[in-house]
């Protein structure tokens, strides 16, 4: 997913760069005069526009040992009266939360029905019970993509850059677009490990698309879907042909998956100097596959498959061959005619069901990693004899697995935990639950894992991070004032040329310095009889260090210059405000934020009124619910769902209550600078690994 996303972003960036300079075919023209030229366009818009949805997604990606959430947006089209919507897998396939914005602005929740990463398609469904509008859904229909010809007028409809429904016009540029190798071709463009280009030849067109158009329909003048926009390649857009999309859609709605056969043949176009006029070259045969069992091997040239003549002169021919293989009924005995070193040969193989390339990602917070099940394909890729084991996908810095010695790294496969086999994520989740049943951890477990051909044993201390050690810093005196170096330039400008000292920039109200009479603008020239030398900014720290050498409670004579006149002050040294208050903290693992009590120092530094009730948001985890909603470290949380969060204990109670209630939305009332605002945090409650496994 990560690689795919990068490729798509790179491709999209190319499209984006051109989008800014390309002449606009804006809505005004499309919806405008009704001239003869626009007749088809108007019809298409009328038939499709209300079926367009903007899809707002919170998706998850494994990163740093967590399933990190991020927001995204894409497009889709309503294809059934039940509220089914077609879109791309890379838009909705990893969604934790889906909200569809309809043409009239209404936002309706949706759920992921099923997705097919191999074709980069996904079906989601509107929760019509939540829809307020009484208007019937406009339902788009599929057209016949095989009838498209180069030069045909097409309209790209969707929500570019997450703006509202938009339409652009262009012509079909190519009906069998393949990605060049520099832009993700040669099957480098993968979704969930699936080589998307192995079965898809895109419809190339020049209707302007932009990131956000993904999943939106490519429409013919009759108002039918002839493609699903997916990629951008320079100024060209690429859409998945509707005939393929329609087939996949039916399968996904009917059975939640697309059944495909697996042969283990990795075909490729004929090399130019091979001296063969016809056929598909076998580039490789996966071990333990039907093709391997049938005796096929690399270099064979398949000329006939299941009675159909096959040929791949150029890479563009391969998707048709791959679709033929994948579309063969599972378990069917198939005859292949092939050439081996020029000799005609015959092979028979029995196809097997082709599962997903990757299992679903599961986050194991207690381990600090994301892991997934092995599938038949990923087991072969990892050279594993079976699918038993749990594949480590992402490891967090400083996490339990990273801290183990030896540590676990991405690509490792967990085999056993405390002597119990962990054949899948559900087993790992179960053993984790059992281990931590009566304790939050950390608890050491003995882990057996494979790292390539090596089998290691290690001890992982799973569970919540141990409370940090209660180590306190020594209490030292401080100057309850902020100082600024008196640089030679500044001294001269203040008519104090040649004098050393520190300028008092701020005096903390209510503290010893203020009580002793120190004022903003004073220049501290002597401390306990010693000259204060503070010419460079870094010298300020030296002054504080010097003060820390004294004892708390001692009174020290200071000499300051005020309006050029020396004044002596007796300053009782009090504890440094930095160590005097250790704010109480609470880290919430559901909302992924840390709150702490506001210290007096914080209030003084940030000019926060003493009577303002609230807690500081010390940190928001990247990709957590709080951060996704727009909360940030430094914000002051004033209230949650209308209840004032005067201190950390209250905030902790409210956060825990919200989690316990599985609240759909929690309203945080925040203060940032002088501004206040309400922010809705909309978590989706955790899915168990066992539930995720059901999708595998």
């Amino acid at each position: 997913m990560h690689t795919t996303a990068k490729i798509f972003r790179a491709l999209a960036a190319l499209a984006a760069a051109l989008a800014w300079t390309a002449p606009s075919t804006g809505h005004g023209a499309l919806l405008g005069s009704g001239s003869a030229n626009n007749e088809g366009v108007e019809r298409a818009v009328a038939r499709m526009y209300k079926a367009l949805v903007r899809i707002q997604v919170v998706m998850e990606e494994p990163r740093s040992g967590r399933l990190e959430k991020r927001v995204g947006a894409g497009s889709g089209a309503i294809i059934s009266a039940d509220g089914h919507i077609i879109s791309n897998h890379h838009v909705a396939g990893r969604a934790r939360r889906l909200i569809c914005r309809m043409y009239d602005g209404e936002e309706v929740d949706a759920r992921l029905v099923a997705a097919d990463p191999l074709t980069d398609l996904a079906i989601i469904q509107l929760d019509l019970t939540k829809r307020k509008s009484k208007e019937s859904l406009q339902v788009a229909r599929f057209g016949d993509s095989d009838r498209l010809r180069v030069g045909d007028v097409v309209l790209a409809m969707g929500c570019p850059a997450a703006v509202s429904q938009s339409v652009t016009k262009g012509i079909v540029s190519n009906t069998q677009l393949m990605l060049p190798s520099y832009a993700g071709g040669d099957f480098q463009f993968r979704e969930e490990g699936e080589p998307v280009g192995s079965v898809v030849r895109w419809i190339g067109h020049d209707a302007v698309i932009y990131p956000g158009n993904s999943g939106g329909p490519l429409v013919n003048p009759a108002g039918e879907i002839v493609g699903i926009n997916e990629i951008g390649l320079g100024s060209l857009g690429g859409a998945i042909p509707s005939n393929l999309a329609k087939y996949v859609t039916e399968q996904l709605i009917k059975q939640g998956r697309v059944d495909r056969s697996w042969t283990g043949i990795e075909g490729q176009a004929r090399p130019k100097n091979m001296g063969v006029e016809r056929g598909v070259v076998v580039g490789g045969v996966l071990p333990d596959s039907p093709a391997a069992a049938a005796g096929l091997r690399a270099g064979d040239v398949v000329t006939e498959f299941n009675g159909a003549t096959v040929d791949a002169k150029i890479p563009e021919d391969l998707p048709a061959f791959n679709r033929l293989l994948l579309g063969t009924p599972v378990g069917k005995k198939v005859r292949l005619a092939a050439l081996r070193a020029g000799q005609a040969m015959e092979f028979f193989l029995v196809t097997r069901v082709r599962g997903k390339a990757w299992g679903d990602d599961c986050e194991f917070k207690d381990w600090g990693m994301v892991a997934r099940n092995l599938t038949v394909i990923s087991a072969i890729e990892k050279q594993q004899p079976t699918t038993n084991g749990v594949l480590v996908v992402s490891v967090g810095l400083g996490s339990a697995v990273a801290e183990a010695k030896p540590s676990l790294t991405e690509g490792d496969i967990l085999i056993e935990v405390d002597g119990q086999p962990v054949n899948n994520v559900a087993a790992l989740e179960a053993v984790t639950r059992t281990t931590l049943e009566h304790s939050e951890g950390p608890k050491p477990v003995l882990v057996k894992f494979d790292h390539g051909p090596m089998r290691y044993l290690t001890v992982v201390r799973i569970g919540k991070e141990k409370k940090r050690a209660d180590v306190e810093p020594a209490r030292k005196p401080g100057l309850p004032a902020e100082l600024q170096a008196l640089s030679p330039d500044l001294a001269e400008a203040l008519h104090l040329k040649g004098r050393s000292g520190a300028l008092v920039a701020f005096v903390y109200p209510g503290h010893s310095a203020e009580k002793a009479g120190l004022k903003q603008g004073d220049i501290l020239v002597k401390f306990d009889g010693e000259p204060v030398r503070c010419e460079r900014p870094e010298d300020v720290d030296d002054v504080y260090t010097q003060i820390r050498r004294y004892r708390i409670g001692r009174t020290v004579e200071c000499e300051v210059l005020r309006q050029g006149q020396p004044i002596r002050l007796n300053l009782p040294l009090e504890e440094d405000l930095k160590t005097a208050e250790e704010p109480k903290r609470y880290k919430d693992d559901v909302f992924d934020l840390t709150v702490e009590n506001l210290t007096e120092l914080e209030r003084l530094h940030r000019n926060i009124p003493r009577d303002l009730q609230g807690v500081k948001i010390a940190h928001c985890e990247t990709g957590g619910w709080a951060q996704l909603a727009g909360l940030a470290g430094g914000d002051i949380l004033l209230a949650m769902d209308g209840t004032t969060t005067a201190d950390v204990d209250t905030a902790e109670r409210l956060l825990k209550t919200a989690a316990q209630d599985k609240a759909r939305r929690v309203v945080f009332f925040l203060r940032r600078g002088v501004h206040t605002r309400f922010v809705e945090v909309e978590p989706v409650w955790p899915q168990t690994a066992a539930a995720a496994e059901q999708h595998d």
Binding site: L397, G398, E403, E465, K466, R468, A469, D470, V471, E472, P473, A474, R475, K476, D528, E530, T545, Q546, R548, R549, Y550, R551, I552
Partner: protein, 261 residues
């Protein structure tokens, strides 16, 4: 070049005879001649068991990279009371306390007892300015052999002093003694002595005694010796931190609890 872990290298590190301070070494030789061997032996015997080796691991969060670092602790420190309160240099715990507050996540420290046993220790307090940490036994233990802490002891320029330390495991954790004298005294705002014999990090955390056998202070590195009276508030804070962390229990008689032979 000597192997860093060789016994010879360990001894050299402790003795710290670098070419940087030849003049001071000369002065030390002259001054130490004034302390009789009998006196030094008596001081050494009376106090060597109050200087213990420390070993183990400390894990802390690096404030710069937010990564948990693990450092090996090795060195020695001074037991300052019978409860086992111990002053150790931060560097001996693998910590760079100069960065300010250290977010210590975990520590697995052991003090090696003179009997050959060991006892688990925890970090109570850190002083980033002095680069010192105060340790205490994880569990209350039988009385420790401690130095006699007297905050009133003072000394003057060129006075004799005598440092007791412990070599590392390569030298069998043997006690080591080194005489010297005071080369400078700073009285304000706190009394700090400078001495030629405290030139190396290995000296940090160990006790220095006057010629009459009284504890003068604790070496804090950089040729610096902090007078006992100036460390009193640090110890008081450590004791408060200990009391806050766990109510004191009565120490059992006999061998320290948890000590392994």
């Amino acid at each position: 070049m000597n192997n860093r872990n060789s016994p010879r290298a360990a001894l050299a590190r402790f003795i710290g005879r670098t070419c940087l301070v030849p003049a001071l070494l000369l002065a030390a030789g002259n001054a130490s001649a004034e302390m009789s061997q009998a006196t030094m032996t008596a001081i050494f015997k009376a106090n060597k068991d109050a200087v213990l080796n420390i070993t183990g691991l400390v894990k802390f969060m690096c404030p710069h990279c937010s990564k948990i670092h693990e450092r090996e602790a090795h060195g020695c420190g001074t037991v300052v009371d019978a409860s086992g309160l111990m002053i150790v240099a931060g560097s001996h715990l693998g910590l760079q306390l100069g960065d300010g507050k250290v977010d210590i996540r975990e520590s697995h420290l052991k003090a090696l007892l003179p009997t050959g046993g060991e006892i688990a220790m925890k970090i109570l307090l850190t002083d980033p300015d002095l680069e010192l940490a105060i340790l205490a036994p994880e569990q209350p233990a039988a009385p420790f052999k401690a130095v006699v802490w007297d905050p009133a002891v003072q000394a003057d320029l060129l006075a004799d002093l005598f440092v007791i330390g412990r070599l590392d495991k390569n030298m069998g954790n043997q006690s080591v003694a080194e005489p010297g004298n005071i080369n400078a005294v700073e009285r304000k705002p706190r009394t700090v002595y400078l001495s030629n014999i405290i030139g190396r990090d290995e000296h940090a955390g160990v006790p220095a005694f006057t010629a009459d056998g009284r504890l003068l202070g604790i070496c804090i590195g950089e040729q610096t010796l902090m007078a006992t009276g100036e460390l009193q508030d640090l110890l008081d804070q450590a004791r408060q931190a200990a009391a806050k962390a766990a109510p004191p229990k009565t120490a059992p008689a006999g061998a320290p609890e948890g000590a392994k032979p």
